[in-house]
């Protein structure tokens, strides 16, 4: 058993208890043993002076793609968990669009085992809604939950059939898991590679209209209302979606939603010059959408930030825009981007950001974590919110490098990440500090 650890004198932020004060945090037997001022030092304790740092519940990312099984060249559960730890995450949820698809208890169990073997950030599997993500027959939710799945999703593909979405929401109620949907009306989005707007017109690229997302957001909210199920909307990108979610929540519908750091900070103009690192699905939208997403996050209409970490081979993005795959990696830049743009940009307070990256996503997916309450697992991140660093993809722990934030100067990063009291990441005092 690891010796007890006393984090001395940090700014302790715990949104689960409305805490933001200078205090000590004692970790013992993998759990939070106490939070307070002037805590005593048990025998054999390791004391760390964390004055000037922020001690917070570890970050939780409910939407990552770790590519194992099937595409281990670009990411594995171990490399993804290492990237997550470096980004300050103590738990991530792995989407099931692997090869083969994670649509049964054996496949779910494999991910759990690989996560345990890696011994880093916790990796929770998300099972597929439909067998093979084909959008036809429901997967065995019960067995997958029994093996460790925390949600179901066909992410990467929209659930085209309204009937399938309805039955998934109904059936998931027994297991108290969210049904996470990638909202995209397939006939409207077909062939699209970026946001439909003036930039797409100039570049001659096929657009994906905002309505393609909003139609499905609206459908899913109505079906959640109909069934009483919990729908979780992945990577919301448009102002119209925000309005629909706000209305749904006001009516008491069980809807939660996530937004990515890139949709909060970039617009379709990033696609100019056919930069394939700006190619993602849903696409980067317009400035008015970014403003609406930021306001919705501050308001709580959007519950949490999720990275949609999507690794791709180094040469896959080295292609014409039409031919490049969608998606970017995000685990190692998520906090830095969000802190630099949202906290330093005056959109959110730091405690609010911790809530949106830890407490709220843990609550939405009913995961342990997101709190520093005594007795809770010691999933903790120590943040250095003054550290200035430049995004250097070659230094990523992830196996992949596909990011639009390369070269960007960010402020704030994880200094230390603890999972169950065990240190899984410590930032070296790099140049640039």
């Amino acid at each position: 058993m690891t010796p007890p650890l006393l984090l001395r004198g940090g700014r302790v932020i715990d949104p689960s208890r409305g805490l933001d004060q200078t205090a000590d945090v004692l970790i013992q037997d993998g759990k939070i043993a106490g939070v307070g001022t002037g805590l005593g030092e048990p025998d054999g304790v390791e004391v760390r002076d964390v004055r000037g740092r922020v001690v917070a519940p570890g970050l939780v990312d409910v939407h990552v793609h770790l590519r194992e099984p099937g595409n281990e060249d670009v990411e594995t559960i171990a490399s993804g968990a290492r990237a997550a730890a470096a980004g300050g995450f103590t738990a991530v949820c792995a989407m099931p669009n692997t090869d083969p698809v994670t649509d049964n208890q054996a496949a779910v169990g494999f991910i759990v085992r690989q996560s345990v073997r890696a011994g880093l950030t916790r990796v929770y599997p998300i099972g597929a809604i439909s067998v093979g993500q084909k959008g036809e027959q429901l997967s065995e939710f019960g067995e997958m939950v029994g093996a460790g799945a925390v949600a179901v999703s066909d992410d990467g593909r929209p659930v085209a059939s309204g009937h399938l979405m309805r039955t998934a929401l109904e059936y998931a109620r027994t297991f108290e898991i969210p049904v996470a949907d990638h909202c995209e009306e397939p006939t409207l989005a077909a062939g699209g590679v970026m946001h439909e707007g003036l930039v797409a017109t100039r570049l001659g690229l096929k657009g994906i209209p905002a309505a393609a997302e909003e139609i499905m957001v609206g459908r899913d909210i109505l079906l959640a209302q109909l069934t009483g199920g919990h729908v979780h909307l992945c990577h919301v990108s448009t102002r119209g979606s925000v309005d629909l979610i706000r209305r749904g929540k006001a009516q008491g519908v069980r809807v939660t939603a996530e937004v990515t750091p890139h949709h909060l900070t970039l617009t379709d103009r990033a696609c100019e010059g056919y930069d394939t690192h700006a190619k993602m699905n849903p696409p980067l939208r317009e400035a008015a959408d970014v403003a609406a997403l930021r306001a919705a996050l501050a308001e709580g209409v959007i519950d949490c930030i999720a990275s949609d970490h999507a690794p791709h081979a180094y040469d896959a993005k080295e292609a014409a825009f039409d031919d490049a795959p969608f998606g970017i990696v995000g685990l190692e830049t998520a906090f830095g981007v969000a802190h630099s743009e949202l906290v330093l940009g005056g959109v959110l307070s730091l405690p609010d950001l911790v809530r949106r990256m830890s407490t709220a996503p843990a609550a939405a997916f009913r995961l342990a974590g997101g709190t520093l309450k005594p007795g809770a697992p010691a999933d903790v991140v120590i943040l250095d919110v003054t550290a200035q660093w430049t995004v250097d993809p070659t230094a990523f722990c992830s196996k992949s490098r596909n990011t639009p934030f390369a070269g960007r100067m960010l402020t704030g990063r994880a200094a230390l990440t603890l999972v169950g009291g065990r240190m899984v990441h410590e930032a070296e005092a790099r140049a640039g500090r």
Binding site: G197, A320, D322
Partner: protein, 322 residues
């Protein structure tokens, strides 16, 4: 660096002066094609690859004639039967071309941005012969030259593009080129074939062909690709002709003498009436003739040829590129 930069990717990023330079440089090259021996030594010793990932007859032949009349050595590569069909990526294609030390690449590709992608990765000059729905700059230039020949100017003219603007690279190159040279640009077609935000590029929007005909000095009628009907953008070719076809009857209502252009290949009886295509308003074959001259000018300028020497370059003993 040449007066045009390294590559010709589109007209959007050219200045009005650069566009005028190309048109002016094309003038002396027109005469070369009228000679019994249609050859000048301007690009002697240069190697050019015509790399066509999409089928093309007119553009490919036009480029090839332009190259041969400038005495360049040319190789044609079509996507079918090449390593491209065997799954080679564009990057690998580019690297292989580079390794063969060629001087210029003329490329047509189905993906928007492909020409710029290639140009950024190889030292050779790249000329975009059409990339997806993005641009077809030499078509835009030959359209400009044809309008200038016919009207003696471009500034102040009203030019309306008719048809499928959404999928048309010719439309985009025309919009940039015409706007930069001071023409007023209109677009006319059904909303299903109109890209979002097109008005923000500074063009007038017409939903009825009659209104466009009343407004315009020049109609540039775009090809309606037959797959657009299968894609559900229009109900039928028959109806398209009824509603948007440029017919002799409609032209007869025009308040002024209209010039009618078409980048080809035409669908007679779909977007254009045969009587119009073959009639007195049509400059469609002049466009084809000018295509060779404009492409000669572009090749010459990108190879480093000095514009003021173009006149001399066409002489048998004339100086080649610097």
């Amino acid at each position: 660096m040449t007066a045009l930069g390294k590559d010709l990717i589109g007209l959007e990023h050219l200045s009005a002066d650069q566009i005028r330079l190309i048109l002016d440089t094309a003038e002396p090259f027109k005469e070369v094609s009228e000679r019994p021996i249609k050859k000048v030594p301007a690009l002697r010793g240069k190697t050019i690859v015509n790399l066509f990932f999409e089928s093309s007859t007119r553009t490919r032949i036009s480029f090839e004639f332009a190259e041969k009349r400038l005495s360049a050595d040319t190789v044609n590569v079509a996507a079918s039967g090449s390593s491209v069909q065997k799954g080679e990526t564009l990057v690998d294609t580019a690297r292989n071309l580079e390794a063969m030390r060629i001087d210029m690449v003329v490329m047509r590709h189905p993906s928007s941005g492909a020409a710029g992608f290639l140009g950024d990765r190889i030292r050779s000059n790249v000329i975009n012969a059409g990339d997806g729905k993005h641009e077809h700059p030499t078509q835009g230039l030959l359209d400009l030259l044809t309008i200038r020949d016919k009207h003696g100017k471009i500034e102040g003219l009203k030019v309306c593009l008719v048809g499928d603007i959404l999928h048309s690279r010719v439309a985009r190159s025309n919009i940039w080129g015409l706007s930069k040279l001071g023409a007023e640009v209109g677009v006319c077609g059904p909303d299903t074939l109109m890209p979002r935000g097109i008005e923000e590029l500074g063009v007038c929007r017409f939903r009825r062909i009659e209104e466009a005909i009343e407004w315009a000095d020049v109609l540039n009628v775009l090809r309606l690709q037959l797959e657009r009907m299968e894609g559900g953008f229009i109900p039928s070719l028959r109806e398209y002709y009824r509603v948007f076809g440029v017919t002799a009857e409609r032209l007869a209502q025009a308040p002024r003498e209209l010039t009618v252009m078409h980048p080809g290949p035409m669908n007679r009886g779909v977007e254009i009436d045969s009587r119009v295509a073959d009639g007195k308003h049509s400059v469609i074959l002049d466009q084809v003739t000018n295509g060779v001259a404009v492409r000669m000018a572009v090749l010459y300028l990108l190879a480093g040829g000095r514009p003021e020497l173009a006149e001399a370059a066409k002489g048998p003993a004339g100086g080649g590129p610097e």
